[in-house]
């Protein structure tokens, strides 16, 4: 154990591999877990009765993953609205884009959502001050906006002061008519930092493009999700003139399906990154083995002496094995601490609620101990099998 302390730098360099490996595993697992948690929460906060429809087919073989033939327009949304629906209730549409906005001498880039229909209801959002868009507003070219509470704070200091003020988006003035109630953060996007404008205004004045990015509908009851989904599909297919037997040129998903897709993706990601962590642990382990060989060589005389004083092969084996395990566990602990710190940093950057699972921490310590055992056993065994006199004579 003394040699570890006296060769601090060498020991540190040796365990660097373990530190990095454990750090990445801890970070990945916990960031993954945090992201998954937040995604689950946010998808759940949409409402489990939500159905999302995007134009194009999901095609894994294409580069973007989606083949888009014919975009949606407001006509598609209207078709859904006008249909005397049995299973689905509200219908909404949304386009989004990051745009430069300005109030007096302050400018900031915000996500601007052009919304149509029952968007707020479908996404479980509420108004804190002022009012929501009316049906007429959605289709008008009115220059009005509902803003997230953080936007209001940023521009007006106090949320209450926002109503009636004019914010410029792409240089065009919009009057604030409402402020949204605060909502839980979603990964990589804060729903409290969004500016909502009517979809018509958005298309005509901000983007000059009449396509619709996403349509939402909700099922009247969660039990009839499948029927609602089928009904939406039928209405859209008929409206878009798709012959029976032909594939739909849009994709439809329920929140549950979205959730499981996201979980699948994050699962693959976590697995992939864990593999990288695993490789660095392997490299770290080999480093440990190497340094143990060096240590055993350097301390051959000590081994001989200890044997002369009564150490059994087993005593020597345990001594070196303990050293290897202490070093790797030390690395594991340092790596865990760094990993937890990194998780917090990532979480702060990505707007996540950080989750540190105790399981991941105990696993990290367990893995590092196991690495010490696995990679320490061979050098330690070599040390233990030395003949005392040969070890003592070693120069």
């Amino acid at each position: 154990m003394r040699s570890l302390v006296t060769n601090k730098l060498r020991t540190f360099l040796t365990i660097l591999g373990i530190i990095i490996g454990i750090m990445s595993v801890i970070t990945l697992l916990n960031v993954g877990e945090s992201a998954q948690n937040s995604i689950t929460n946010s998808v759940n906060s949409f409402g489990s009765d939500l159905i999302s429809i995007i134009p194009g087919k999901i095609d894994v073989s294409s580069i973007t993953g989606i083949v888009l033939d014919k975009p949606f327009t407001v006509d598609d949304v209207r078709a859904l609205e006008e249909h005397d629906a049995l299973y689905y209730g509200g219908v909404a549409a949304m386009n989004a884009q990051g745009l430069m906005t300005q109030y007096e001498d302050k400018t900031r880039r915000y996500t601007v959502d052009g919304i149509y229909g029952d968007y707020f209801t479908l996404r479980n959002m509420e108004i804190a001050y002022g009012r929501n868009f009316s049906n007429e507003d959605s289709q008008s070219l009115a220059r009005i906006a509902v803003i997230g509470p953080k936007v209001a704070e940023e521009y007006f200091g106090e949320v209450q002061l926002a109503l009636g003020k004019k914010i410029r988006i792409n240089g065009i003035p919009f009057t604030v008519i409402g402020v949204q109630k605060p909502k839980d953060a979603v990964p990589f996007m804060d729903p409290n930092e969004i500016i909502y404008v009517p979809l018509g205004t958005y298309q005509k004045l901000l983007t000059g493009d009449d396509s619709v990015q996403i349509i939402y509908a909700n099922s009247k009851s969660t039990d009839n999700m499948e029927y609602a989904q089928r009904e939406v599909t039928l209405v859209l297919r008929r409206h878009r003139g798709i012959a029976s037997g032909e594939e739909s040129d849009f994709s439809i998903q329920t929140s549950g399906e979205i959730l499981s897709t996201i979980n699948q993706i994050t699962g693959i990601f976590t697995l992939f990154l864990s593999a990288i962590g695993g490789i660095s642990l392997l490299v770290g382990g080999i480093g440990i083995m190497n340094i143990m060989f060096v240590t055993v060589r350097e301390r051959t005389r000590e081994i001989g002496l200890r044997k002369a004083l009564g150490a059994t092969n087993r005593d020597i084996l345990l001594q070196f094995l303990t050293e290897a395990v202490v070093v790797t566990v030390l690395g594991g602990i340092i790596g865990t601490i760094l990993g937890v710190l990194l998780t917090y940093i990532f979480a702060a950057v990505a707007n996540l609620e950080p989750v540190i699972s105790l399981q991941s921490v105990s696993m990290a310590v367990g893995i590092s101990a196991a690495i010490g055992l696995v990679f320490g056993i061979y050098p330690a065994r070599q040390a233990s099998l030395m003949s005392p006199i040969e070890a003592l004579r070693f120069e």
Partner: protein, 241 residues
């Protein structure tokens, strides 16, 4: 008469170095009684160290039998051999072999690592051993803060703590000046008077003069084995021989 402490029967040791073989011991038979003080002498390369290592259970002979307290050493497994090295044998090396960067006391305590003696008794015995070699005042010193004589005295204290049946010293004074050598030998002689059995290797006649019996080796064979006159005191003894 009781069983001898040590009984060697026709011990041979052959070193193999690739193709060539070298016979370092060519049939050594020796008996040592409890309480003896034996000096092994002989020219360099005569096999003294080889014999000491076999006696100290650090090496095994190529053939022959070795009985220590009637136990046949050649038949023991590693665990039992380690126990004998720990409990029955104290070894003092020419090269001292202390653990670096540790205090004198910690070095003396090392053999206890491999025993089951309670901590309090360990400290008591270590302190007593340090007292015997006159190092009580230095017990917190690191080994690099000691003189050569103090280092060897630490090593002797370490060989004493387990109350071994026998102490082996391979040229314990080989790296020390003559004044310090005599200090070390006085300590060993005193330990022998207190009942410890001691076997030492030396080149020097005035060191061997402390022993009760001198065994001479040449080319791996015992060429003489003589009892010395009983000592009256250290000074007269030094002039003998």
């Amino acid at each position: 008469m009781a069983e001898p402490l040590i009984k060697l029967i026709d011990i041979r040791k052959t070193y193999k170095m690739g193709e060539t073989e070298y016979q370092a011991l060519k049939g050594v038979s020796l008996t040592v009684e409890k309480g003896d003080f034996l000096a092994i002498m002989g020219p360099s390369g005569s096999g003294k160290s080889t014999l000491m290592h076999i006696l100290g259970c650090l090496d095994s002979p190529s053939s022959g039998e070795y009985f220590l307290e009637s136990k046949e050493i050649g038949k023991l497994a590693d665990k039992d051999l380690a126990k004998i090295r720990n409990e029955k044998i104290g070894f003092v090396f020419q090269a001292f072999n202390l653990l670096q960067r540790m205090t004198v006391l910690d070095n003396v305590l090392v053999p206890f690592t491999y025993s089951r003696i309670p901590r309090a008794e360990q400290m008591e015995r270590a302190n007593k051993a340090l007292e015997k070699v006159g190092l009580e005042s230095k017990k917190s010193n690191k080994t690099n803060q000691l003189s050569g004589g103090q280092i060897q005295r630490t090593a002797i204290a370490r060989s004493l703590v387990m109350n071994p049946a026998i102490i082996f010293a391979d040229e314990p004074t080989g790296n020390l000046d003559s004044k310090t050598s005599h200090e070390i030998m006085s300590i060993l002689a005193k330990l022998n008077e207190q009942g410890n059995t001691i076997i030492l290797v030396t080149h020097e006649d005035d060191i061997a003069a402390y022993a009760k019996r001198i065994v001479k080796l040449r080319d791996g064979e015992v060429v003489s084995d003589e009892k010395q006159k009983a000592r009256t005191n250290m000074t007269t003894e030094k002039k003998e021989k």
